[in-house]
Symmetry: C2
Subunit: 495 residues, 2 copies
């Protein structure tokens, strides 16, 4: 081993290394080209799981040997979101284009925290594109982060600093002078909104979970009442987080109405568009997000509907200066200069908590450049069309019932078995059966107290035949689990 | 474009795509193999910077065309931390092995937030290795994050939850019941420790910046006095962050003494070992970190001395259950089951703020497996030996002076010009000259009020000849800038 990397950690034998690299690239392209032929997911055999356990190796191994371990023990046992039959959660499929861009980024090994370097300019270009997409001003701030959990947290911190001024950075929440700040989101909001309140020191009790209307959207009237009640109690509303694409059923809050209420009360209007925001790339779907262009900040993930490989979260802030005010800090060794590497301030590290930052922007830049916004929007619209197809198929099968309207790309349905708790058990068992079969991987969630089979169509590889395969397998599995006399979820002809 | 990606975002012509992919891999291997022949850094020409600006493209472009734009406009203009002549900041160089591993991760497109999948097991294996390295128990928790800024923040949150209990998650800092929590670090701590206090809602005023001793380490006696004073004032000390490798001069706090003080007062003992912690991989250097094995938590970056590509930060927490208590949260759609994809709880998302998480663990796993801990430790020790070589060369040249002892791998020195502010200007100009020359890229910092040229030797590619090249260029540049009669920083023979 040390023979192969004698002077530095670069290979001594570059030609041999190059052959190995091409073998690994071919292996991954083979994997992606033939992914449809693989099981969606498969349980990890005990011996494979155990094979990962070994003491810290003092000596190195041949790269090809390590790669073969990867091929045998890792590649077959992912959560399979790259597979067209994966419907479990809102996760994108990735693309080979994104994979190659990530390879380039890893080779450059750029730290995009700052300095005068083109990787920072690439990130700024993606920020400008997103400002253009969401009709934000040129002065908007934007930043790549891991995911929307972090993006929501950053937006909350910018809002906190706007509400309390620079004093909050010096004196913490005590800077509020006893006027307790409160925030608002809906009961269907992602858990990371409440988590952001925890992280920032407010605690989740300072977040009002506003009730939903019949479309699973935040009830605007209930929001107004909650704010009025808090004002009457001497509290200070400062942050409203609407959702564009709820995690359970894919509902989009009425962003025009919610935004107007937030503005009327001087509160920051944030949109958690973790997966839904990029629907704006589709001319057909963009009207569903009307009002998002009025937000103070938007959080979303390129790795969901944008199909950029994990992770690639993003936060866009209308007032770039406010974002900088929440994070920029001086440090002797981070001094800025007019010349040399330390020019080009402000830097990305002035806009968020990270100083060490990978070059996430490159895979997003490649994705946008190679596909163009129209093709990306088409893929998003197509996944909604496939979700509607699934909803139609559910409606056609008497043994199945839909548990929520299909707003975008998430379908919550349920097998009608016997009643009560036994039904929940049956549906839970059917989802595990489906996952273990390798045919399809939906997930489970709870919709208004009832356990639901949840299918999120996000992956650009998913087609109608993948929906058919899931429903056909469900029929077989239900028949196997049901006592005779209870109808299996048959197709329309058999119903 | 849409012809090339008609049904999905995968290529219709896989063979043509494959040829393009191999071209891109060869391009990056060419870049890395010949990196020494390139300038370290070069200013970005105005037209290159401007070429990045374009409206959001509605139509896609050929992948090869986008790649050529990358080759022309991005690759030549990085901050150059992959180059052996980069000494600017504590940034690793990356390796081709890490690049290939990152390509595999991007192809799998695994979201390592949770689920029963081998990518989670790979991360758990790296956690076990780190627990072994730092002599932590098997029950330790660990998590990949972007960087040490986030790792320090997570450690602070775990300590906050231990101090205030679950009530802090519900009620925020008000859960302290008026007993103000205070934290401690040294004046030389990285700015992200203060930032973590801001993020968590404490504010930076609740962080005591303990004075340094003559070795630039936290003064243990001053820490004890600060804690005593705060206790006397009715405050509650809860968190002590020592530093293993300060950012300005590379000092290591006395971890045994600091840890003992923290324990005596019931405070959480955290070590910010952003770059220094991995010195434990070197048998020669490990004793310098004595006491780190007693920490409650350690934060560090694999992308610094570990040479893993950006970003790959890490946090290790002795009490894994405490880490989980600070972050785990129930959500209907994240339900855990005994079977299927939702088995295998607890998940990584229960140990930190991110739910969407890239597969950072894979590039660290490949790096550790391929090189082994000994070879990685040797590379770390070698960078310290090269820093000592630079310090020796500085001592031999009368025109140069050392501004701080060389503890690990950072050398702060200065050109002796005239006096006062003019000296600072001269040194600042020399650093910009060096950077713009493409020969070497040190940075500037301030050491006890004096501007210093700071050279951090981190990259495994750096050799003694790179130090010689920097000093030789400095001599020429100083001669060009100095009035006749002032000595240039000549070598020992000429001195």
């Amino acid at each position: 081993m040390s023979k192969k990397f004698s002077k530095t950690l670069d290979p001594d034998d570059w030609e041999g290394f190059r052959v190995q690299g091409h073998r690994m690239l071919d292996g991954m392209l083979d994997y992606l080209e033939s992914i449809r032929a693989r099981p969606v997911w498969q349980p990890i055999p005990g011996e494979v799981r155990e094979s990962m356990r070994e003491p810290l190796p003092s000596q190195g191994e041949d790269l090809d040997g390590v790669y073969r371990r990867f091929l045998e023990s890792v590649l077959p046992y992912t959560a399979a979101n790259a597979h067209p039959g994966f419907f479990g959660w809102v996760q994108g499929g990735g693309t080979p284009v994104g994979m190659l861009a990530e390879m380039l980024a890893a080779g450059l090994n750029a730290n995009v925290g700052g300095r005068d370097q083109m990787p920072v300019e690439v990130e700024r270009q993606v920020v400008r594109w997103m400002a253009e997409l969401f009709d934000f001003p040129d002065s908007a701030g934007g930043l790549f982060v891991t995911g929307t959990s972090m993006a929501n947290f950053i937006a909350l911190l910018v809002a906190r600093t706007r509400a309390l001024g620079d004093a909050v950075r010096e004196h913490g929440l005590a800077a509020s002078g006893g006027a307790q700040l409160v925030a608002y989101t809906s009961e269907a909001a992602h858990g990371c909104v409440a988590q952001a309140m925890e992280l920032a020191g407010f605690g989740r009790a300072a977040l009002r979970m506003v009730a939903l209307n019949e479309r699973f959207e935040m009830d605007a009237g209930a929001l107004e009442l909650a704010i009025q009640a808090d004002l009457a109690a001497g509290l200070r509303p400062f942050f409203v987080a609407a959702t564009a694409g709820t995690v359970d059923v894919g509902a989009v809050d009425d962003l025009i109405a919610i935004g107007a209420i937030a503005r009327r009360h001087g509160a920051w209007f944030h949109v958690d568009g973790a997966y839904g925001a990029l629907a704006r790339l589709s001319a057909e779907l963009a009207p569903r997000l009307a009002g998002i262009e009025q937000a103070d900040s938007i959080a979303f993930d390129f790795h969901k509907w944008g199909q950029v490989p994990y992770d690639a979260g993003f936060v866009l802030v209308r007032d770039g200066a406010a974002q900088q005010a929440a994070f920029a800090a001086p440090a002797a060794y981070l001094r800025r200069d007019a010349r040399g590497l330390s020019a080009g301030s402000p830097w990305p590290c002035d806009l968020g908590p990270d100083l060490s930052r990978g070059f996430r922007a490159l895979k997003a830049w490649f994705t946008i450049k190679v596909y163009g916004s129209e093709r990306l929007g088409e893929a998003i619209a197509e996944s909604c069309a496939i979700a509607r197809y699934l909803a139609d198929q559910v409606a056609l099968r008497p043994a199945l019932e839909l548990l929520a309207p299909v707003s975008l790309n998430i379908v919550c349905f349920r097998y009608r078995g016997e009643s009560g708790a036994a039904d929940d058990q049956l549906n839970a068992a059917l989802v595990a059966d489906l996952q273990e079969s390798g045919v399809a991987a939906p997930s489970l969630t709870t919709v208004r107290g009832r356990l639901a089979i949840r299918a999120a169509v996000v992956n650009h590889r998913t087609q109608r035949r993948d929906i058919d395969a899931m429903l056909d397998a469900l029929q077989v599995m239900a028949a196997a689990r049901l006592p005779a006399g209870v109808p299996a979820p048959s197709g329309p002809a058999a119903a």
